[in-house]
């Protein structure tokens, strides 16, 4: 050790030397070290959470690479392994758990230039992970298919990022969530080793890597099943009574004779945040935003009437077919008002808002929902996406919460749990907290990581189970 240097300095200096060497070895692969770019490409939409914003503040990559091929990914991996530099993969950064934040700096692997659609046949599309959902949809529609599900961020979100960090999306009301058998057919993954292996995971094995935030392998190819493309109309339905609107949405979800792609419900005042939709959202009304097959519009109108709602807006399907209208940048699509976009629009109007993620229990009387709606009216607004989960129409809550403190936020989460609502902790940056319910899946992720990332360089700090296991191995106390 050079005299006068403290150990911490030495580590920095070591990293710096290593990075210099890595950069030389990776000559020719596009990259950036421009500070503003580094900052931008080291964050995601975890900024929705004041808790995560604070905890993840200042975490920044040292360098961001933009590979375009698997070969380049392999070169980057080899260099990182050689120099013991952490590597955090990243899609478009529209996730909101901090999954793309490089906790220990190092390399961020931006996959957005891996945009090839490798092939499409028989309703299956094989792609590189950086393909945007909207590009997949456009390509699929050329042969009469469409993507089964997509996040509200489909315009920018990559399919790799969606599969690595998403749960479900627009389309899940028909096809269930990503985790559902058959919604991801295959994932090709490169391991984080001196001699990287290329694994083709298929069947249930894909879930060792899906929603694993890149902690146990870098996805380089993906095989996704498609759905037959419907002409989707978009509708806004408004209700005076919130519980009535929730019962309507549940019934609509369970009406299999009405084909649909999205049922997104927003308690007032959430609709007030949807500025561009203002003419269709009467003051004080709760709004359901729907994507409905054109040939189901008449039965939808009947159902709305029966439940005492009012259709204030209908955009015919013709405009939507052939990729979303919005692909040209023109027009509004309701797809950009549900899921994460709800929080985005709300926070644009009021940055003091945050959100919680939860699954309501199956209950025809919606007791938990009603209790929470009444009890937390002052500080919470209910936002629900309806989707199919294990064959049942389920309400996925994305409640907006007026943030006061982390303690109160956690109290609100606990109030949900006390009502039998399953809460995903979206204010913690570990996979473990988010997926508490699914310990077997976390174990699978851990087991794979032992094989694919023995040095623990992939997206470090995100899988607590790994850190605990490592502590056991070295005999040091677990964190």
């Amino acid at each position: 050790m050079t005299p006068g240097l403290r150990p911490a300095d030495f580590k920095i200096s070591e990293r710096s030397t290593a990075l210099t060497a890595l950069q030389e070895e990776l000559e020719g692969i596009p990259c950036t070290t421009e500070p503003q770019q580094l900052s931008k490409l080291s964050i995601d939409w975890h900024t929705f959470s004041p808790v995560l914003s604070e905890k993840l503040a200042g975490k920044r990559a040292d360098i961001v690479y933009f590979p375009t091929s698997e070969a380049e990914v392999i070169r980057i991996i080899q260099a990182c392994v050689r120099h013991r530099i952490p590597l955090t993969p990243r899609g478009a950064g529209t996730g909101n758990y901090g999954q793309a934040v490089p906790l220990e700096g190092g390399v961020v692997l931006d996959i957005t230039r891996m945009q090839s659609i490798l092939w499409t046949k028989g309703g299956i599309m094989r792609v590189q992970p950086g393909v945007k959902l909207m590009a997949m949809e456009k390509e699929a529609r050329k042969t009469g298919w469409e993507v089964r599900m997509a996040p509200s961020t489909f315009r920018t979100a990559t399919v790799g990022g969606f599969v690595s960090g998403g749960f479900g999306g627009i389309g899940s009301i028909t096809y269930g969530v990503l985790r559902e058998r058959g919604n991801i057919l295959g994932l090709q993954v490169v391991t984080m080793e001196a001699e990287p292996q290329i694994l083709e995971l298929r069947g249930e094995a894909v879930h060792q890597v899906s929603h694993a935030w890149g902690v146990n392998g870098i996805i380089t190819e993906m095989e996704m099943p498609l759905g037959m493309a419907y002409p989707w109309a978009e509708c806004i339905v408004v209700f005076d009574d919130f519980m009535q609107s929730a019962r309507f949405c549940q019934r609509l979800g369970e009406s299999d004779g009405i084909v649909k792609r999205m049922i997104s419900l927003h308690a007032w005042p959430i609709p007030s945040y949807f500025v561009a939709l203002k003419p269709y959202l009467p003051e004080g009304s709760h709004a359901a935003l729907l994507l409905i097959a054109e040939n189901s519009l008449e039965p939808l109108a009947d159902l709305v009437k029966e439940w005492g709602g009012q259709i204030t807006y209908t955009k015919p399907a013709a405009v939507c077919v052939g990729g979303t209208t919005s692909s040209t940048g023109k027009g509004i699509t309701l797809m950009e008002y549900g899921y994460n976009h709800t929080t985005l629009h709300a926070r644009t109007a009021d940055p003091s808002l945050t959100y919680i993620d939860c699954l309501f229990p199956a209950d025809p009387d919606l007791k938990a929902m009603e209790y929470l709606y009444r009890t937390l009216a002052e500080e919470m607004m209910i936002h629900i996406e309806y989707l199919r989960l294990n064959g049942k129409v389920t309400a996925l809550g994305g409640q907006l919460v007026r943030y006061t403190s982390e303690a109160r936020l956690r109290e609100i989460m606990q109030i949900h749990r006390d009502q039998g609502v399953h809460v995903h902790d979206c204010h913690d940056f570990t996979l473990d907290s988010l997926q508490k319910k699914d310990a077997s899946n976390r174990n699978q992720q851990l087991e794979l990581k032992k094989r694919t990332d023995p040095l623990g360089l992939l997206n470090p700090g995100k899988l607590k189970a790994w850190m605990e296991w490592q502590a056991q191995q070295t005999g040091s106390p677990s964190m």
Copy 2:
């Protein structure tokens, strides 16, 4: 009254005079009075039931008309009303409740020549009621659509007959049953009056006439929603253990990532009756017959493996697309082994078999099914069609029963009820018995009949509620 003639003779003679007058007035509309034809066109597949066979024996039309247009239907109605002659509408006669049997003779209105497809647009097809389901499928596939659901008799069955007497069919595992909102968009109905009205029923009002066996109006046009056409592969999966096969089918039904059109389950020895499928049905094994979207075959294979089944037969989708293969008469389609065809094939091998119709309760442990499977093993074979009902995957039983007596058959039905199974009484020829559960629907049918068939000439004897109401009106004792 002519001396020497008894009242009964007089009635016959009156009917005969009336019929002669009717025939003269309907000159030009194709008809038959040829005895063999009359017999053939006065029955349906109620012969599956020894009870109904006995009760309905000898009931025969006096004349059968084959109108080709609504105008001809109206002429026939007017003549029947003028001469007080009963009129019983009939599709292809593949129903099995005796709904097409003219209990009081008179005119049978055979709609099979009303075969025009009026228009197809935006995933909706408007047709005359005599269009065969297979013809609709072929036409729909020209523009990338398919029929949402069809009976196993799709080759001959008319859409009018299906809607008038069917519950659900192949496709109901995705779209729910006919009764589900949105699966019938409109029905045009001609009333049984001296001046027939033409009613266009839409929305929930269609169910006043759907599954009403023509007791309250003659359907002359129908507007049916379509589904996007999938390339369907066909598979046979076999299991050693029946309960395991039933759990597999339920799971498959609830796997929304696997797109499917049919899940038809047959306890051994039912598979032994499927002669043409013999090579794929090992002795003693229980068989699930499946229609699965081609891009779901891989996840299906995984699921089968996980549940310990074995795929013995796969027919790729390419063969099935563009209308069913079988449209050319070549090849086998599994669609002709489920639903009513199961009973048909079984009875071909063993005419002593009959069946019962039931809905199993939602129960993840399948207790009722297991109890019945074990308890009635000697005299009953379980056959299940899985379909969506009110948004939930439900097991529709079409059990085959070794018939000994009506009393024992009714005991078996009661044993089902005791287990919480809902039994449709398919051994009674009244709508009321079959639809016991849905009294509100029966009332709607009755209310419509009061307006549309004041003389009670339409398919007489099938709606008990009507007969009771009539008895009340005239003060005579109800039947």
